[in-house]
Each structure stands twice: as structure tokens, then as C-alpha cells.
């Protein structure tokens, strides 16, 4: 048969070539540039018109290895990310169930309210919440950062979970009830196992947004809670811009993210994530 335009391009290689080239430019090139900056030799610098640095050195990597703050920030970022994910999932599950399965008055209003944190820019939330956290003695503390980040992640998790739970047939729940399972047992044996793809998708989204969150963490936590993005701000955003240091921190931040990401990719189902966010 001859190749023809239609539903089944007999030769998908053109797509591979096209996507590959764009990906190389959009993703490969930036990463290479960041990598080059991280190996810049402070003795020679890297100035125009040089396309590549004239010499390479490990100075900035050594600095990062020496600097305990970075390792500490990495651990802190991961820890906060996990805590936020757990808290978010815990808070989200009952609400997601109610939205997915129970009819109740003002459901639309509840849905809108839960969506609201996505609609209001994070900087506004953070500035407002600071005052309250001071009264509660939560300002500049790790619990405070976990709490404020959860405000931003909760909507995603609820929506993704609700979409997953909605797809679980009511009959399964009724069957479990008829076999003698109470609400807790239904949650444990039916709901949570079947909503697992939702937990994975929502959890990944939560962890990522916690890990890279800057504005709220910075306003609520800094300087005592120094996550990696907050440290990065010091090298890039605030007073000065130090490219090589920033490049090193970028990679330190990126590597664990990519590991989590590729692990999750194996169990992640795009349709689940899209189902949660596909409509608001």
C-alpha cells in the first residue's frame, strides 16, 4: 500500500524527527548551557565572543559540596514536599469522595471555593497569611511552610481524586457495604486501592509544586526555612545574579525532581491527571 495522509501515517519517523529536533532546542540546549555555566572556570570567566568557556573547573561544584546549606536545603525540600503531599492527600480524600459520590446542596459553591486558591495569585495569599501565622506562632517555621503550600496544592488533589472516585462504580461500594464493610473499611479496601491512580497523579503534582514553590515559601519561611528555590533566589533573583552558582543549584534541584518524575511516569496515567484538570 502506498503511504497516504490520513489516520495512520505509515511513517511516524517524521514526527520523531520533528519532535526530537524541537526537544533538543527547547530542552537540550538550555540544559547544556546551564551545564557549561556550572563548569565555568572563575580564573578565566566566559565572555563574549566565546561560544564555549575557554577552560573548565570544578570550583562551583566543589563549593556546593562543601556548602552544607545546599545539602540541608535539598533534604528540607524533599521532606517538606513529602509532608505537603501526605497532608494534602489526607485532607483531600473525604472531600473528593463527597464531591464525587454524594448529592448535597451548594455543591457547585463548594467546588468553586475549593478551586479559588488556583484563581488567586500565590503572592496575595502569602502576604495575607503571614499576619495570621504570626498570631499562631507559625511564621518562619517548617510547619508554617507546609501549611501555606498545602493551600495551593489542595485544589489539584481534590479535583484529581474526585475525578478518579467518580469513575469507581457505585455498585462496588454498595457490594462492599452489603458484605458488611463499614465506611472505614470501604475507604481502606475499596476506595483507596481503586483511587490509587488519582493519588499517584495528584501526589506527583503536589510534590512537584511543593518542591518548586517559591513565592509562598519565601514570604512565610525565609530565612529560617531555606528550601532550594529560596536559595536559588539568592543567586538569581534578589540582589545579584551569579550564573555559575545558580547553574549548580539548578542541577542539584533538578536531579531529584527528574528521578521522582521518571519513577512516577511509570505508574502515572495522563488521563487521570487530565480528568481532574480537564474542566474547572
Amino acid at each position: 500500500m502506498t503511504a497516504r495522509s490520513g489516520l495512520h501515517p505509515s511513517d511516524g519517523r517524521w514526527i520523531t524527527v520533528g519532535l526530537g529536533a524541537s526537544l533538543l532546542i527547547a530542552l537540550g540546549l538550555p540544559l547544556i548551557v546551564a551545564l557549561l555555566w556550572s563548569f565555568m572556570d572563575p580564573a578565566t570567566g566566559w565572555f563574549a565572543p566565546d561560544i564555549l568557556p575557554p577552560s573548565y573547573a570544578l570550583d562551583h561544584w566543589e563549593w556546593a559540596a562543601r556548602n552544607g546549606d545546599i545539602a540541608q536545603a535539598l533534604l528540607l525540600s524533599v521532606g517538606i514536599g513529602l509532608a505537603v503531599t501526605a497532608l494534602t492527600a489526607l485532607l483531600a480524600l473525604p472531600t473528593a469522595y463527597a464531591l464525587a459520590k454524594l448529592p448535597f446542596a451548594m455543591k457547585r459553591a463548594v467546588e468553586l471555593f475549593i478551586l479559588a486558591p488556583l484563581i488567586v495569585p500565590g503572592i496575595i495569599v502569602a502576604v495575607g497569611i503571614g499576619t495570621i501565622f504570626f498570631r499562631l506562632d507559625l511564621a518562619f517555621s517548617i510547619p508554617g511552610v507546609i501549611l501555606v503550600q498545602t493551600v495551593g496544592t489542595l485544589p489539584f488533589m481534590i479535583r484529581v481524586l474526585a475525578a478518579t472516585i467518580e469513575a469507581i462504580p457505585n455498585d462496588l461500594i454498595n457490594a462492599a457495604r452489603s458484605l458488611g464493610a463499614g465506611p472505614a473499611a470501604v475507604a481502606r479496601h475499596i476506595l483507596i486501592p481503586l483511587a490509587w491512580p488519582g493519588f499517584v497523579a495528584g501526589g506527583l503534582l503536589t510534590f512537584i509544586s511543593s518542591f518548586e514553590e517559591f513565592e509562598k515559601t519565601f514570604i512565610i519561611g525565609s530565612p529560617f526555612v531555606q528550601t532550594l528555590p529560596v536559595i536559588l533566589w539568592g543567586y538569581l533573583g534578589g540582589r545579584v545574579m551569579v550564573f555559575p552558582t545558580a547553574a549548580v543549584v539548578t542541577f542539584i534541584l533538578l536531579v531529584p525532581m527528574l528521578i521522582v518524575f521518571f519513577l512516577a511516569e511509570r505508574v502515572l496515567r495522563d488521563d487521570v491527571m487530565a480528568a481532574g484538570m480537564g474542566k474547572l
Binding site: 578565566t44 566566559w46 511564621a139 525565609s222 530565612p223 531555606q226 539568592g234 551569579v242 555559575p244
Partner: protein, 417 residues
């Protein structure tokens, strides 16, 4: 630099007799800090002996540093040196955002909480906001530190054109300057006056980089220098009146004092690149597209050391003078470790610490009695404004409120157009 401070001292005609002062609260009847020792009885002689036991009791000092560029100096040099000198006192170092941390202290005070920090190396531009909010301990740091008896008293009592009376002690002095890259422009070609800048920019469009006054201090300083050069002597005198209120400053900026300055920048704007921050300007020079730009002397020094600017980078001052200032250290009113904090501040202003700072960062000192020439290697001296030029052309900054008001007008008259 001693010449510069001589000018400054002359300007405000303040002499500091090397005599024993009683330590008295600045601008108030009582101290606003809780101290384990009676501060009134402190003298330079008994300073260390009296404070040390209490400081050991404190055991730690939480230290905020608002600069990114000083981190290696503090973390790897000054703090280890202090801790070696006073075993039992730990310095907890935090690199912070200066403006945000001031807000943090204000929020803590509002909430009735103690200060989270004991020593704060803070941006001078924030001294007014911080002091008016009452978060700075009213200690006369300008006179009470035995390690720094020879402070330039203008630098020690005025921050960014705001008179605080000595509660913020100058840790370093800095200087706005003209930076240029000798790869692309020779020293003779570098403009030395505002007219020459116009000529240079006309001949080489896009190669002069000016930091926006709204974005970085080197731009704000440049604008102030232009005021000094172009406004009438009366206008300049008003701008240098540190007692002006914010409202008076806004009035000044609205008046015709600034007209020639704004006319100049309006004409200059299409010929140059206005950048968003100090580092932006330096990046353009490193990229070889800008050959001359407005810079901070110490930041350019630091960037050359880090390989972020080429070694061919040089700095100089305009003939009509360029302004400089510095940043200071304060102890917050709510500090819980005042004794240890005082010891640490005293150490940071000591000969040992100041020499270390100059040799590492090339940043100048407010100590008039220190001869730092010996601390600088030749290649480092090259990265600073030549001493003779500095002595002749360095000027103090104008009143902070005037500078802010002038910046706002710059935004409206120049940037908005």
C-alpha cells in the same frame, strides 16, 4: 579613602574626641533592648570584660546578611575567626532578603514576639523604615564600640541620607562609579562628564548601559550624581538637607530643580540601554555589548574576582563627582542575645575584620584610622577606583527621600515616555 572621609567630616563638621562616653540611648530616654548588663555603665575599657560572661550565657548570635556577595567573607572567614576568638559563642548565619527581613522584624514586633535575629547587616536604604518602626535597638553604636573608635561620624550617623544618630554602624562603604571594559574602550575614551557621556552615546548608540534608578543602586547613584552636576547650588543644598520630610522631598522633585536633569536623561535615553538592575549592567559588559556602564565599585570588584567580569574591567568616577554610601549593621530592638550581639558587632568593626573584608571584597571602610593600602595586592588595587580620583570625586549621597522622589519622577518623565 581617608581623603574622602576627610571631606565628609569637613562637611558636617563633626569631630569625635577619643574620650570616654557614657553609653546613652539614641533619641530616647530609655533603651529599647533588654540587656543582661547595665548598658549605661559600659565604657570602651570594660566593654569586653563586662559583656563576655553574659555573652557566653547567650551562647549564640543569629546573624542576617542581606548581601549575596559577602557570603564567602562571612561564612568562610569572619565567622570562623570570631568563633575561634570567643569559643562558646556560635554565630548562626543566614543570607536573607534585606527588605523582606525588615518586614519580618516589624511583624514580629507587631505580634509582640522577640526578634528572630540578633545582628542584622541591613541595606542602608531601609534604615528610615526600620528605625521609624522602632525595630532598631537605640544603642549608640557609632561611639560605644571600642574596636572602632575612629568611625567617620557622618557615615556612622546617616544612612542613605537619613539621620538615625548612630544606631546603625557602617560595616562597609561603597561607591557608585563608571565601569568600562578595556577590551573595547581605552581609558582615554571613557567619558568623564555628563556631556561626554552624551557625546559617547551619540557616537556609539546602545553601548552605554545605565542601571534604572528604580532597579538598582548604581542607577540611583548615577541619578544623584547628575543632580549634583546639573541642579543649581540652591537645589543641591536642599537635596542634601537630611531633615527633609517625605512630603517636602516630593515637592522638591516636582519643582524645577530636576528639569535640566530630566531633560538630559530624556535626550540620553534613546542612545543607551537602560537595565533593570546592577547585575544586568555588568552582564551586558561581560557580553561585550556594553562598553561603559553605571556600576557599584565593590560589586564590579567582586565580579571580576569570580570570573563574571573580564579582568580588563576598570572603574572610575565622573569629574563632577559620584555619590557613595555603604551599608550598616544594627542590633534589633527585640534581640534576645544583646551581649553576644554587641561582642560580634564590635568584632566586625575591628581592624582585623575590616582588613580581611577589604582584601577579599575590595569594599571600603568607614574607619578613618586604618591604612588599608597594604592589604591590597596590585591586581586588586587595579579593580578599584584609583585612590587619587576617589579622593577628589567621591561624594556623599543626597537625602534618601529626595533620591526616592527623584527616582519616581525619572520613572514618569523618562521611562514612561
Amino acid at each position: 579613602m581617608s581623603c574622602k572621609t576627610a571631606i565628609v567630616s569637613g562637611l558636617i563638621a563633626l569631630s569625635v574626641p577619643f574620650a570616654v562616653h557614657a553609653v546613652e540611648p539614641v533619641g530616647a530616654d530609655a533603651f529599647n533592648v533588654v540587656s543582661p548588663v547595665d548598658l549605661a555603665t559600659l565604657t570602651p575599657e570594660n566593654f569586653e570584660v563586662t559583656l563576655l560572661p553574659a555573652a557566653l550565657e547567650d551562647g549564640k548570635v543569629v546573624f542576617y546578611d542581606f548581601t549575596e556577595s559577602f557570603t564567602p567573607l562571612f561564612a568562610e572567614n569572619l565567622i570562623p575567626a570570631f568563633q575561634a576568638k570567643y569559643p562558646g559563642i556560635t554565630i548562626e548565619y543566614f543570607s536573607v532578603d534585606g527588605e523582606k527581613s525588615i518586614q519580618q522584624l516589624m511583624a514580629a514586633k507587631d505580634a509582640g514576639s522577640p526578634s528572630p535575629v540578633d545582628v542584622f547587616f541591613m541595606p542602608n536604604g531601609q534604615a528610615r523604615v526600620a528605625n521609624e518602626a522602632g525595630i532598631i535597638a537605640n544603642l549608640p553604636l557609632n561611639t560605644m564600640l571600642p574596636a572602632a573608635p575612629d568611625l567617620d561620624q557622618m557615615a556612622a550617623t546617616v544612612s542613605r541620607g537619613y539621620t538615625h544618630g548612630g544606631v546603625v554602624v557602617p560595616f562597609h562603604r561603597n561607591q557608585t562609579a563608571i565601569g568600562y571594559d578595556t577590551r573595547t574602550v581605552s581609558a582615554e575614551q571613557v567619558p568623564e562628564t555628563f556631556e561626554e557621556i552624551m557625546t559617547f552615546a551619540t557616537a556609539n548608540p546602545g553601548t552605554f548601559a545605565m542601571t534604572s534608578p528604580a532597579g538598582g543602586g548604581s542607577g540611583g547613584g548615577f541619578l544623584e550624581s547628575a543632580i549634583l552636576a546639573m541642579a543649581t547650588p540652591d537645589c543641591v543644598a536642599q537635596a542634601q538637607d537630611f531633615s527633609l520630610t517625605k512630603e517636602q522631598a516630593v515637592e522638591w522633585a516636582k519643582g524645577d530643580c530636576l528639569d535640566p536633569v530630566m531633560a538630559y536623561f530624556t535626550a540620553l535615553k534613546p542612545l543607551i540601554e537602560i537595565t533593570k538592575g546592577n547585575t544586568d549592567t555588568l552582564t551586558l559588559i561581560a557580553n561585550g555589548v556594553a562598553t561603559v556602564g553605571t556600576v557599584w565599585e565593590d560589586q564590579a570588584f567582586d565580579f571580576v574576582g569570580r570570573g563574571l567580569l573580564p579582568p580588563s574591567m576598570r572603574v572610575t568616577l565622573l569629574e563632577t563627582g559620584q555619590v557613595g554610601d555603604g551599608d550598616g549593621i544594627m542590633i534589633p530592638a527585640g534581640s534576645q542575645n544583646v551581649a553576644a550581639a554587641l561582642l560580634f558587632v564590635n568584632f566586625l568593626l575591628s581592624d582585623e575584620a575590616q582588613v580581611m573584608k577589604v582584601s577579599l571584597n575590595g569594599s571600603r571602610t568607614a574607619r578613618t584610622g586604618l591604612d588599608l593600602a597594604g592589604a591590597l595586592k596590585a591586581d586588586m588595587a587595579n579593580r578599584l577606583v584609583p585612590t587619587a580620583i576617589h579622593a577628589e570625586r567621591a561624594r556623599p549621597r543626597i537625602a534618601g527621600v529626595v533620591s526616592s522622589a527623584a527616582t519616581d519622577r525619572f520613572v514618569v518623565d523618562v521611562l514612561q515616555q
